[in-house]
């Protein structure tokens, strides 16, 4: 089915000229396994953060109602939020609710409305900003990484590599202030604060979200382009490239179909890994630009000691990471059929 490992190029050739095969049942099973793993990870993660949160010092009832709250008010509060039940029962109520999309009631934020409403309102905004940042990072890194690899050892390579190291070394929240300084206060091209939701106006969201997305994207673009440079050089030194050249394929064809395609696999993988850092950047930068997303919700909840909301945000962020990595798995399967065969 798949070409032997020594000559992946020939398998690729055969597929190109022999028509595409549909996904084999085996790759379905592979994907199902990854999906199951992700579900188990979310459940285990929920258990861990729940246990840690419960072990935290301080009584949420007293934190919300104040130290001098009347005992009956405390008891009513504890009953309303299931705090008077045994631990296992509390966890089960919380977990089964969460699986139905019900995270319980917020303690202090927004006057105790359901957390799922808060999250539903803010998730699309965070998703938009995150996706926007990834697209910018991919666009920049594809250009920079390819230039650096093709012009290896020359001035362009040195410049691109230096920019990449600088990009990694600048904290993204500081960079966002520098961008505001240059493009919002100096040149007044972009707004310094505020964000138009993509549900209101797509163009407005693209415009007002550009600076925050750029700030989040910068360190990632740096990591991606370094990765792309390394893996392009690695792929270019493979034997299949020599074979393809000896077939008389043009340099352009060899680059696109042998070097670039093989280099894309580690590149796509690192995008999945970097999502963890991207979401961290989102949390701080949403706050700087006044974007009402999941990150600013989590920070607000952290300040208000709204434990269930912090808990819910943590789980949602974990789920986003795992979902993105599932997509990355699918992409890798498409790029490298050996992986699932």
């Amino acid at each position: 089915m798949a070409a032997p490992e020594r000559e992946p190029s020939l398998g690729w050739l055969r597929r190109m000229y022999g028509g595409r095969k549909v996904a084999a049942p085996r790759s379905l099973a592979y994907f199902a396994g990854r999906l199951l793993g992700a579900v188990v990870t979310v459940l285990a993660g929920a258990l861990v953060v729940y246990v840690v949160m419960k072990a935290a010092p301080g009584d949420p009832a007293l934190a919300v109602l104040g130290e001098n709250a009347r005992p009956d008010a405390v008891a009513a509060f504890r009953h309303k939020h299931h705090l008077d039940e045994p631990f296992a029962e509390q966890f089960w109520t919380w977990l089964s609710g969460m699986l139905r999309g019900d995270f319980g009631l917020s303690l202090t934020i927004a006057g105790g409305i359901p957390i799922s409403q808060l999250i539903a309102a803010r998730l699309p905004i965070t998703a938009f900003i995150g996706l926007y940042a990834v697209l910018i990072a991919v666009a920049v890194s594809l250009t920079m990484g390819t230039i650096a690899a093709v012009r290896r050892g020359r001035a362009a390579d040195t410049i691109a590599t230096s920019i990449a190291v600088l990009g990694i070394s600048m904290p993204d929240f500081w960079l966002s202030y520098m961008l505001v300084f240059a493009f919002a206060l100096g040149w007044r091209i972009f707004p310094a604060y505020g964000f138009v939701s993509p549900t209101e106006s797509a163009l407005g969201a693209l415009y007002s979200g550009f600076l925050p997305a750029l700030a989040i994207a910068a360190p990632m673009a740096a990591v991606f382009s370094r990765m792309l440079r390394t893996s392009l050089l690695e792929a270019a030194s493979r034997e299949c490239v020599v074979v393809a050249r000896s077939f008389g394929f043009s340099a352009r064809f060899v680059f696109l179909h042998y070097v670039f395609r093989n280099a894309l696999i580690p590149y796509v993988t690192i995008i999945g890994l970097q999502i963890r850092y991207l979401l961290g950047g989102v949390v701080v930068i949403e706050r700087i630009f006044g974007i009402q997303g999941l990150g600013s919700l989590m920070v607000d909840a952290a300040f208000a000691r709204d434990y269930p909301t912090v808990l819910a945000c943590t789980i949602v962020f974990l789920t986003i990471v795992l979902l993105v990595n599932l997509v990355v798995d699918l992409l890798c399967m498409a790029l490298d059929p050996r992986r699932s065969a």
């Binding site: 840690v52 949160m53 072990a55 190291v165 600088l166 600048m170 500081w174 961290g280 808990l311 943590t314």
Partner: protein, 288 residues
């Protein structure tokens, strides 16, 4: 062992000369460390010395980084703050390294069910976005300097655990480890004397990069206000302060960020350079 180690050091020093990245990185890192350990004492001002005649004055000869809203010298505060940030980050990474390395080594050496459980747990922690996990831990532990170190340690130890485990698996079957086992050396001694020195190189590289990571986490947490609490100056606290009057006095935030970027640049270059020096695959390619 000793002459061999000396030879190793000499070789390391020799390849250092050939490796520009590591040299520049080491120089910048050394400069940052010297600046915050000695420079702070050499400054004519104290970190809390307020000059009410020079509020928010722009960078000048007497105040190279300008002053903040209390008329405090920003450069002095950055030097003191960098010291706090560096110590917080280094302490966190030290805990992470100690915890992660010992767990990873024991896990790989003993194998079995504990190994599986431990590595699954490390993978689980690794799946959380690091800053989100750190923020979550700050809520649980409470805001404050020591807890920032703890949060850094808990978010970073899975990386050490995974790395130490993989390296130990490679070294475990080496003849010198088998010899030590045949001589009935106790397990802790084998782990510490035979295995640890042979897996230390990648761990040191990881620690260098980890300190940069810790500085960013500290700065981020303190910047949003859940980390180091004022009046203790840390880089994040100074930046949070500078954010308040960014439009009137952009230098406070700007210069602090430049200082952080310098420190991170040094650590990143140093880590990259060290990795190139220690990765035999890359070294081989460099020699070709």
């Amino acid at each position: 062992m000793s002459p061999r180690r000396r030879q190793l050091l000499a070789r390391l020093a020799g390849s250092f000369r050939g490796n520009l990245t590591a040299t520049v990185g080491a120089a910048i890192t050394l400069f940052v460390i010297v600046a915050c350990s000695l420079g702070a004492a050499l400054m004519p001002y104290g970190p809390d010395h307020a000059d009410f005649l020079a509020l928010l004055s722009p960078p000048s000869l007497s105040h190279p980084f300008g002053t903040d809203s209390f008329g405090r010298d920003v450069l002095t505060r950055v030097l003191y703050g960098a010291r706090v940030s560096l110590v917080v980050s280094a302490a966190g990474i030290a805990i992470a390294a100690a915890l992660g390395t010992s767990l990873g080594m024991i896990s790989a050496y003993k194998g079995g069910g504990a190994d599986v459980v431990l590595m699954r747990f490390a993978d689980l922690l690794f799946a959380f976005p690091s800053f989100v996990l750190a923020l979550f831990l700050m809520v649980v532990l409470g805001f404050g300097t020591i807890n920032v170190s703890l949060a850094i340690a808990l978010t970073y130890f899975p990386i050490f655990a995974r790395l130490a485990r993989n390296m130990t698996l490679l070294v475990r079957e080496e003849p010198f480890v088998l010899a030590a086992r045949l001589m009935a050396e106790p397990t802790p001694r084998i782990l510490l004397r035979e295995i640890l020195p042979n897996i230390a190189a990648p761990l040191i590289v990881q620690a260098t990069i980890g300190i940069a990571f810790g500085i960013v986490i500290e700065a981020g947490l303190s910047f949003i206000g859940v980390g180091v609490q004022p009046p203790t100056p840390s880089l994040g606290v100074i930046m949070a302060d500078g954010r308040e009057y960014f439009q009137r006095a952009p230098w406070v935030l700007t210069m602090t960020g430049v200082a952080i970027s310098c420190a991170l640049l040094g650590l990143n270059l140093f880590g990259d350079g060290l990795r190139d020096l220690m990765d035999p695959r890359l070294r081989q390619r460099a020699q070709q």
